[in-house]
């Protein structure tokens, strides 16, 4: 890695903490972003010669703060720029200074920065775009490319979202326990949205795939500042487990490979082990929540060396728990999959039929229903269900997967005729 590449990585890693602190000082997102930008420029000039500071975050906060104050001053009357050498030469001193200034503020600063991106008035895609722009520091071009829209359209979208956030006002006083818990819950939801925007891409070459890694970085950051929150452990574990299958999810032609058909030797064992460690930690807290339960389900898949080793009884039980904690027809549909594996298609189809009203517009509902009907030899009904699924597919890969099932039906029909 060259020096400059290292500096880029360091600046990106330092961004949430530094920008969060600057936002608290200036109480204005644009000023904070400008100050951070200025601090980064000075870092690029200063660090290659002087070497990296021991605490890059503290360095950026102090330099950004000075330059930001200076920009505010310049608005009123001209005054000389402060010399950043005074800061960069003090070695460890900047760290102590920042400690005195910030201390325990760090965690609420980062939480606030993430929280302003999850304003309930903002639709999910705007929350994602805003978080990637503000917290992760991706450029408008990068985000636009990932969302397959033009730069200026994305620029407008982000500007509008920022204006909305600014109008809503941001609470700068230190939040109380209840307020903090509410913020945490909204932020974890937002992080999972970012993850899914990346993970749900069926084309592994799309730029948006990187969002999944970014979400994991944000979750690690959040857990680092709130180390005893079992739901953040659960969220991070869940995302790591899902992402551990990335290399096995698509075949060479870009077709979806179902969990049971995936080459499990291509699953990322490092990610799985980290997730299992997090789940073990979370369980000790005895405060189960939706992310922990979903992570526990994903962990049972990860532990099965072959698909046929999967503990479907345990998975079915966990989905039952999830139905209690977070009732939803989609969760019940997932439980039906486990029931089908454990007890066969009859019982499962019974469950699925009851969801027809709630999930009629849902791709997976018709896909699963078609599959169960096919297992029962009710091929004509299966075909109708698959046709409906294809009509609801959101990506070519989803449609192609159903078409494969239809081909199997057709092959069956021809064999029985012949």
């Amino acid at each position: 890695m060259t020096d400059l590449a290292w500096i880029d990585t360091t600046l990106a890693a330092a961004r949430p903490r530094a920008l969060g602190a600057l936002l608290r000082y200036f109480r204005d997102l644009d000023t904070a972003e400008e100050a951070f930008q200025e601090a980064c420029l000075r870092a690029l000039r200063s660090w290659p010669d002087k070497g990296p500071p021991r605490d890059p975050v503290a360095w950026l906060i102090l330099v950004g703060r000075n330059s930001g104050i200076d920009a505010v001053r310049r608005g009123a009357r001209l005054e000389a720029l402060p010399d950043e050498d005074l800061i960069s030469d003090t070695g460890d001193a900047e760290s102590d200074m920042a400690d005195r200034l910030d201390g325990s503020h760090y965690r609420d600063d980062i939480l606030r920065l993430m929280f302003i991106c999850c304003h309930p008035d903002l639709p999910a895609t705007q929350q994602i775009a805003l978080a990637l722009r503000i917290v992760s520091g991706l450029s408008v071009q990068q985000i636009a490319r990932a969302f397959l829209v033009g730069d200026s359209a994305m620029e407008q979208r982000i500007t509008r979202a920022k204006a909305r956030v600014a109008r809503a006002g941001v609470a700068f006083q230190t939040p109380g326990a209840a307020e903090r818990a509410e913020r945490l819950s909204r932020v974890t939801t937002m992080i999972y949205l970012v993850f899914n925007e990346g993970y749900s891409q069926s084309d592994p070459k799309r730029d948006a795939c990187a969002f999944a890694d970014e979400a994991i970085r944000l979750a690690r950051l959040l857990l680092g500042i709130f180390p005893s929150e079992p739901e953040i452990m659960g969220l991070l574990a869940l995302m790591l487990l899902q992402l551990s299958r990335r290399a096995a999810r698509f075949d060479a032609e870009g077709q979806i490979v179902l969990l049971e058909d995936q080459d499990r030797s291509r699953w990322n064992r490092e990610a799985i082990n980290e997730a299992l460690a997090l789940i073990e930690k979370a369980i000790r807290h005895r405060q189960p929540g939706p992310y922990q339960i979903q992570a526990a389900i994903a962990a049972l898949h990860a532990r099965a060396i072959r698909a046929e080793d999967t503990d479907w009884t345990q998975i079915e039980l966990l989905y039952r728990t999830l139905e209690h904690v977070q009732p939803s027809p989609v969760v019940t549909l997932n439980r039906a999959v486990a029931v089908a594996k454990r007890s066969g298609p009859v019982e499962a189809l019974d469950m699925v039929e009851q969801l027809a009203g709630a999930l009629d517009g849902y791709f997976y509902f018709h896909g699963l229903r078609g599959n169960l009907l096919m297992q029962l030899g009710r091929n004509h009904e299966a075909r109708t269900a698959f046709d409906r699924a294809i009509a609801l597919a959101r990506s070519p890969a989803e449609a192609a997967h159903i078409r494969l099932q239809l081909d199997r039906l057709k092959a069956d029909a021809e064999t029985s005729l012949g």
Binding site: A13, P56, R217, L223, G224, M233, N273
Partner: protein, 124 residues
Amino acid sequence: MLYAILCYANEETVFAWSKDEEEAVMSKLITVQEPYARAGKLGPVGRLMPTTTATTVRKGKDEALVIDGPFAETKEALLGFYTIDCDNLEEAVAFCKQLSAVNPGSSSYEIRPFYVFRPGDLAT
């Protein structure tokens, strides 16, 4: 003398490395380790999972407390360790200087002589 070499670095930067950056650093580190490994001087080398996976057990008044997170909240986290048999401190310092040269950014290496309390029989 046996030395434990404890590697500290900024965790957020290290975990922000791209896959290519990570692989490049690791292959350089392996190059540094190779001569020591060939000379039979290198013991187990560990990479620690992120500090978010850490649990600390601390002696309490009645029973031990189990705390989430690493023992100390420091700017630089303990991210890995070496065990190595060096002729003297000079050699251990030279080894760390080589590690440091191929590790981008700010990192530090604490050299701590140790003796084997129990060799263990863990198959690795």
